[in-house]
Amino acid sequence: MLENLALGFSISLSLSNLFYCFAGVFLGTLVGVLPGLGPVATIAMLLTLTYKLDLVSAIIMLSGIYYGAQYGGTITSVLLKIPGESSTVVTVIEGYEMALKGMAGKALGIAAFGSFIAGSFGTLVLSLLAPPLSKMALDFGPPEYTSLMALGMTLVIYLGSKSISKAILMAAFGLALGTIGMDPVNSFERFTFGISSLREGINMAVLAMGLFGIGEILYLAESPAARALHETVKSPKKLKEMLPNQKDWKASAWPIGRGTVLGFLLGVLPGGGATIASFASYGLEKRLAPESSLFGKGAIQGVAGPESANNAAVSGAFVPLLTLGIPANVVMALMLGAFMIHGVTPGPFILKNHPDVFWGVITSMYIGNVLLLFLNVPLIKIFVKIIEIPYVILSPIIVFICLTGAYTINNNSLDVLLVIIFGCVGYLMRKYDFEGAPLILAFVLGPLLEISVRQSLIMSKGSPMIFFNRPISLVLMVIAFFAILSPILIFALKRWGLVSNLKESKGGYG
């Protein structure tokens, strides 16, 4: 373990990787500060850059953007009452109230320290868990991978979606888009319309930039009200204002601890992630608080817990990606894309074949957490200034970056046209509440799922029982079926009066 960490640090502490780590966390914080432009769109736009970087540097930078964005969103949540990211929606409730009482510095400070502690803990657990999990994953064959991918997509649809039918529709659309190009088994051309560029399929960066970048800009172009900035409260002027005192630490210690553990576990779960983690932590802290009446009026526990949870979830999300090659959420799906651009498939063999990549990325997360703490505490004034850049300036620049980025992938104007088309699709999806996460996950996992299904059925000579005869695959399938049936089960239990106050699952049919 120590040797592995030494290898990792020798890679992540190189000057160039330190620079990319810094660039990632700075960009991530910046992106988090700007409502509307999330880590997904930013990573999608920067995917094209990763062609030019080596894999470790690229993943270091993209990871930095992901966890940096969690903190950036906190700044706008506390100062502007606008959640910069979906994972910081909960912070608005308590953080802004603290700011109104002149405690914006404390809110931001405890969020920064909580994020640091949670992120560091999460990275430590990732370092400890990943090697044994990777070994276990060596026992995974095509049936297990099929079941795991099916479970992952099921959980994303059923846990993370407001409308299950729309989510399944989007997943099917993503699967359909994933079939464009050469069939992964027999190299049969599908849906290429005679265009040679489409033989390799649609590039994920093009799809993601269109859906999340251009789509968001078009949506904001339609709704000027969504771009209006609120007045800020007084932001902290001195570093001292951001340092929590003993009383703050006493109130926040347990929430940070609980948020860290809860966030990490939810981050590991496909369909989980930073947003669910932050909500779950808030709910938990409210329930456990000695004086829950303080919640909603500026309770520091309501900032400490969720902010720790969302950062811990980021580390947790890397577990299934690095050990099994399964992305737990949209951002991890884009990371998977970045790996595949470089011809490396994350999963159980990455530890054996590319230990430098594996440990370099993990150790960079330790460094990134430290950078995030030192970056965000003193540089708060700069980020507050950036919030003041009007959207009318940012929107055309984001469009320009997306279109240029699309062209630079293959020096092909067709990619620019595709980004615009997907931008229109993304705009309609945003307008009518069709979620993008199931689409992107299905798009990324679809070809892999197709390969493993076909391999499994070849192994079993066409019998689908192979997915139920093998113990790991059976367990995963059972969990997936329960997830599918959960809304019906809960409805039935309530109907029969067996459970009186059970909350309905997040999804619903239609």
Binding site: F173, F188, R190, L403, E450
Partner: protein
């Protein structure tokens, strides 16, 4: 109600995409029992399944939308407020799309620098209504920085077009 009509049309679009996918997929091999093609699902099965699910759920969504009341579709009454200025808001969307398509069309023909200018400046000046000075300075800064980063830092070849 425009929101209702819009969502119906969007669902219809997904239905059409699903129908096309399924019909096209039926022209591919779906399943093989044995032989040289291997066992089990072939190239057509996944797109056929995806297309069929898209069609089914688009129909479910369309039926669901038709049954919803105006209050359910637009609980915050945002559409009523929005539609007071409906032409200007869609104007911005169509304008962005027009200039994006123009950029895509002209990029290789006239080059990166000119096409980027024709994308950014009109949007900033005429769509987002910025002052001349701000529109020009933002356009030039964005083009200059991106050109420098892409060409000199990343070594990405960009089309020169009319500027050799």
């Amino acid at each position: 109600m425009m929101l209702k009509k819009g969502e119906l049309l969007t669902s219809l679009g997904f239905f059409a995409a699903g129908l096309y996918t399924a019909v096209k997929a039926m022209g591919f091999p779906i399943w093989a029992d044995s032989g040289l093609m291997g066992l089990g699902p072939q190239e057509g099965l996944f797109p056929l399944a995806a297309g069929a699910v898209m069609m089914a759920l688009s129909l479910v969504n369309m039926v669901h939308i038709r049954r919803m009341s105006p209050a359910q579709i637009d609980p915050l009454g945002e559409e009523t407020e929005e539609r007071k200025g409906s032409r200007p808001t869609y104007f911005r969307v169509f304008s962005y799309l027009t200039f994006m398509l123009l950029f895509g069309f002209l990029l290789v023909k006239v080059g990166f620098l000119i096409s980027s200018f024709l994308l950014l400046f009109p949007i900033l000046k005429f769509v987002e209504k910025q002052r001349w000075k701000r529109a020009i300075s933002t356009t030039i800064a964005a083009i200059f920085i991106s050109y420098f980063v892409l060409v000199y830092f990343l070594g990405v070849p960009l089309p020169r077009g009319l500027i050799k």
